[in-house]
Subunit: 636 residues, 2 copies
């Protein structure tokens, strides 16, 4: 097996039901929601990350190893990973746009790392620059493999994006040292923070060098034996509570869990381990059937950044770390390729338009680390832990460059191919130019204002024989109208959520779809106690919220009347805002607890309601917000 040239993230070497496209085979329309975001990432977010690598001292941490800075080590001991993720973003972005403007940054970083790297390949600016620190001596906390993983992923992305192999050489020396130190017959240990597993598989994919895959597999096989030792954070925090193949529930630190799951899925795919893949399906079900937020966010607890119990999903204290949503998106992609099951793409889309999108400001330069679904009137937003506004940077700056690397590669997740044909997984305007099953070129030109408009046009062309166009229809789209060249078709959306149309497309044809874009009320599972008596509003894949800036009534006082959902108002920018009527019921007494079976409120007064897309909240100064809105109906 040899590497796929210019592949996007996580392109398996082994055959899988679905195959990813090359980086240059998909293009997002610059007018589309995702395309605009990718442009903003290029013009604002990536430059912001690069600037902050300097101002936060990440690059100086390398310079001091070389005697070129006399500053002390700055930031967390795993700050090198900020550089890794930013370089990965630059790698994808360069590959996508061909933009050469990052060249000097890439050279600066590669030069520093090349010179700082020890002769045997070791590279970690904290351990190398701290007299008392001993290599691999505290893997529970040190993040040495985590840092290595992000460097490896950066090198792979840069290589795929531009062919530049300077970073790849550095990363291979790091990986070779890992293999020598922790490979078969060497030390039995793993990192407290999973990440290197998926990176090693990606490096294997890019280089074809099997020992990288074997080390990734070994990390998965060893993990969960308690080799990291006891700690008051408990073994779940380190994902060391049970052997991976015996786990059945998403617990502990959510980002660590999700990175580990992505890596385990990579290993399962590349080693043909169907048993391990079945374990991953169970873990997915645990998270997505009992622990995910309606925004697609993961991890309900601030304490230990952890998953909660099943159905423990508080909207106000949702930790919902940006990195967890991104990790879940990445894991979903791997599961989609490995299984061909549309549910994974469905969840990727949910996270993308809601939890992930909400983490970046409209300016592209401010970020949420935690993404709550409610901000209360009187919230103390003075700490990084739960600010009331996105912050420019964080002491632990894992999220901003993580966003940058994801968004720079966003087009890679839009479509897949299979032995039958081409699948459109994310319904975004743009162009897909790939090959039909017979190897001949095909093209899809997708137009329409999704996710705001339900009408999509797909100009399909190419292929020398009939092939199957499959369009994933989101689960919320109960009725879809489909026509080819204006004629309604017989094909219906299958129980697998794909609309499959097999034609000879060589002469070109226009597939038209109309998805229902009614405003929808969403009810929670009855065991989600924290939002009892509330509903959420959605339209298409977009979840909405109420924000204080749009209301005279205190947001906490507003109640929705279920039969009277707010409706789209005249367009205001590209996004659709909903307006309508509800009622407000203010507290009648100040007491926290009163006799009686129901709270004491004033009688309901009609009020106007405005709901904005959740991802747009907190762009107008600090104010209260809520996704789950109490209704005037029985709670059940």
């Amino acid at each position: 097996m040899t590497a796929i040239p210019r592949s996007g993230p996580a392109a398996p070497l082994r055959p899988t039901p679905l195959r990813p496209l090359r980086l240059d085979e998909v293009e997002l329309s610059p007018e589309s929601q995702l395309g605009r975001w990718q442009q903003l990432n290029r013009s604002a977010t990536i430059p912001h990350c690069v600037t902050n690598l300097e101002s936060s001292g990440v690059l100086d941490n390398f310079r001091r190893l070389l005697g070129e800075s006399d500053k002390p080590f700055t930031g967390f001991w795993f700050a090198d990973s900020d550089l890794g993720k930013t370089l990965e973003a630059v790698g994808w972005e360069t590959g996508r746009s061909g933009d050469p403007s990052w060249k000097s940054f890439l050279d600066t970083a590669a030069d520093l790392m090349e010179r700082a790297q020890a002769d045997d390949g070791y590279l970690d600016s904290y351990v190398q620059g701290t007299p008392d620190a001993v290599r691999w001596d505290n893997l529970k906390w040190s993040h040495e493999m985590y840092v290595a993983g992000h460097l490896i992923q950066a090198a792979v992305a840069v290589h795929r994006g531009s062919g530049d192999d300077r970073l790849l050489a550095i990363a291979r020396r790091v990986a070779d040292l890992l293999v020598a130190t922790f490979g078969e017959g060497a030390r039995d240990l793993y990192d407290g923070h999973p990440e290197v597993e998926t990176a090693l598989v990606e490096l294997y994919r890019e280089t074809g060098h099997e020992p990288y895959l074997q080390l990734a597999k070994r990390q998965i096989d060893l993990r969960g034996q308690g080799l990291l030792g006891e700690d008051r954070f408990g073994p779940q925090y380190f994902q060391d509570h049970a052997p991976v193949r015996e786990t059945t529930e998403a617990i502990g630190h959510s980002v660590r869990h999700l990175y580990l799951a992505a890596g385990a899925t990579d290993v399962a795919v590349e080693t043909g381990d169907t048993e391990l893949l079945e374990v991953m399906k169970k873990l997915w079900h645990s998270a997505f059937a009992t622990k995910v937020y309606v925004t697609g966010a993961h991890g309900s607890r601030h304490r230990d950044e952890a998953y909660g119990d099943p159905y423990e999903l508080p909207p106000d204290r949702a930790y919902a770390e940006t990195c967890a949503s991104i990790a879940a998106f990445q894991w979903g992609w791997r599961m989609l390729l490995a299984t061909g099951d549309a549910q994974y793409a469905e969840e990727m889309e949910r996270a993308l338009y809601n939890a992930i999108a909400a983490s970046t400001s409209q300016s592209g330069t401010e970020f949420f680390y935690s993404n709550p679904l409610q901000l209360r009137t009187g919230h103390d937003g003075s700490t990084e832990d739960s600010p009331d506004q996105r912050l420019s940077w964080y002491a632990c700056a894992c999220c901003p460059p993580n966003l940058a690397r994801l968004v720079a590669s966003l087009q890679a997740y839009v479509a897949t191919t299979s032995e039958a044909g081409v699948q459109l997984q994310l319904l975004t305007a743009g162009a897909v130019r790939t090959t039909a099953p017979d190897g001949s070129p095909v093209e899809l030109r997708v137009s329409g204002g999704y996710p705001w408009d339900g009408e999509l046009g797909i100009e399909v062309s190419g292929g020398t024989a009939p092939w199957e166009l499959a369009v994933r229809i989101p689960a919320w789209a109960s009725e879809v109208q489909v026509a080819v060249d204006g004629t309604p078709v017989e094909e219906a959306v299958g129980s697998d959520s794909y609309l499959r149309i097999t034609r000879d497309w060589s002469a070109g044809a226009r597939v038209s779809l109309v998805l229902p874009m009614q405003v929808r009320a969403i009810a929670p599972h009855p065991r989600v106690d924290a939002v009892r008596g509330c509903l959420a509003l959605a339209r298409g894949p977009v979840v909405y919220c109420l924000e204080q800036a749009d209301h005279d009534a205190v947001v906490e006082d507003i109640r929705l009347v279920p039969g009277e959902l707010p409706q789209p108002r005249d367009v205001d920018g590209p996004d659709v805002v909903l307006t309508g009527s509800g009622v407000a019921v203010a507290p009648e007494v100040d007491e926290l607890y009163v006799p009686g079976a129901a709270p004491r409120t004033t009688s309901p007064q009609p009020v106007d309601i405005t709901a904005i897309p959740y991802y747009r909240w907190a762009n107008r100064g600090p104010n209260a917000m809520r996704v789950w809105i109490p209704t005037t109906e029985k709670a059940v």
Copy 2:
């Protein structure tokens, strides 16, 4: 001013509206709820704490300073405080019962501390036993004054209890060093964990030595200037976010906030600082009007052990630390004496019978650190942070000995005196023998099964002139029947919540009270989102809960019908258990989110319901529990 002999906790030297009684002036009936608890504390909890001081290495931490142990320092760096609190418990218990059996433990501890204490008075087994540690160098985290504070409180309690002044001498040397190091003109600094403030005031009360009071005042005056320096926990965690006199909201680490408030109240009282006392009233209102649980627990966040925003009161992730409830109880006592306002005693009683009582097992030897109001089916109880059962001891063992010291002194909080007469603050069976305003002896003999039975008898006698008997009537007691010697009286419960009867009691008389003991539904303030659509059950001061052990239906599925509250069933032991009927509605589909405005459930089926006192939960193995029970009515 001179010390009050054998006084209980926090007896002010300056005149206050209410005066505490001496330790030996009140006796709890051994059959009463509080009396049984105090017996259990003596027979089980205190011995358990003493045993654990050895097994957890707290005493060995001192022995190693003397070359009598070669073990490394064990436990948290503030482990000395476990010894301080246990000694305080022994002090109060010895004073109460005269039990000499603690003598050898007291001698052992005093001997170790006496010999370990540095010549200049410094005593901290962690700092003294850690080569790199420098005295007072890291007061933000070191807890050196906190440890000193608990030693001082222990010494005061032992001295008040038994007259033994050996510990007092050690504590005075510690305090004298604090005065020399941090007094006026010396170093401007305070401890990251407040505690020493109230201890210094208590030592001043016991010794009459003014510099101790001045240092306490100085600590309050200095605090909040940010002198502790920056930290990623944020200044609220250390209660260093604002000068004490400028604070208006209960925020940050709840135990630190409450200990600080108790100390500031002590300073306000002893320095006659009415302005500072007004600040304390505002802080109390902030906590008790927007942030306290219906069980009387404080601190809704596990992260940073902190208060949440106003109305952020999740029942499942309630941190509700035992020490916070105890600290609030202690602060309430100080506020009660300082103001004479019954609301403080009301909250003390709420916490005592619910949050505080729940933290100890029926065996008296297992404890909750965190006291949630809901434990979910499927809860992961594998960590100390949120176990599903009380634990025998904790890595940070602050709570068990804190309970021991409180319960050993419980009788001291039952009654007060004033210029008018005697006030019964806690309605418990027992005896009060004190003096009338004219100095002549008086006696109250209280009988009845409170808190289970609403009928109380008070045999009143003594005094040479008419004096006022005041009985605090809980706010939930809407109608109270009162008679003296069988004749209904004209006196009614005042708007200040006291029933005041002035008589010539010298010939003896029997006051009879009947409090309404109907089962009550309690509704939350409408902004307490986390329990929307739910009610809590209470009877008298006791809050109830549903526990899975009593139900066939899954606890999460049970709904209360507000008009049909469960009722007391035939007595089963001393506690009253409630039984009745409700309905169960099971989830109809597995999906976490479904279209529609209401959750999908099966149709309601009648079920039997059993509610037990909240404090008794988790004594029958791990199982689901909830205080707030969804109803079949509109949520509002």
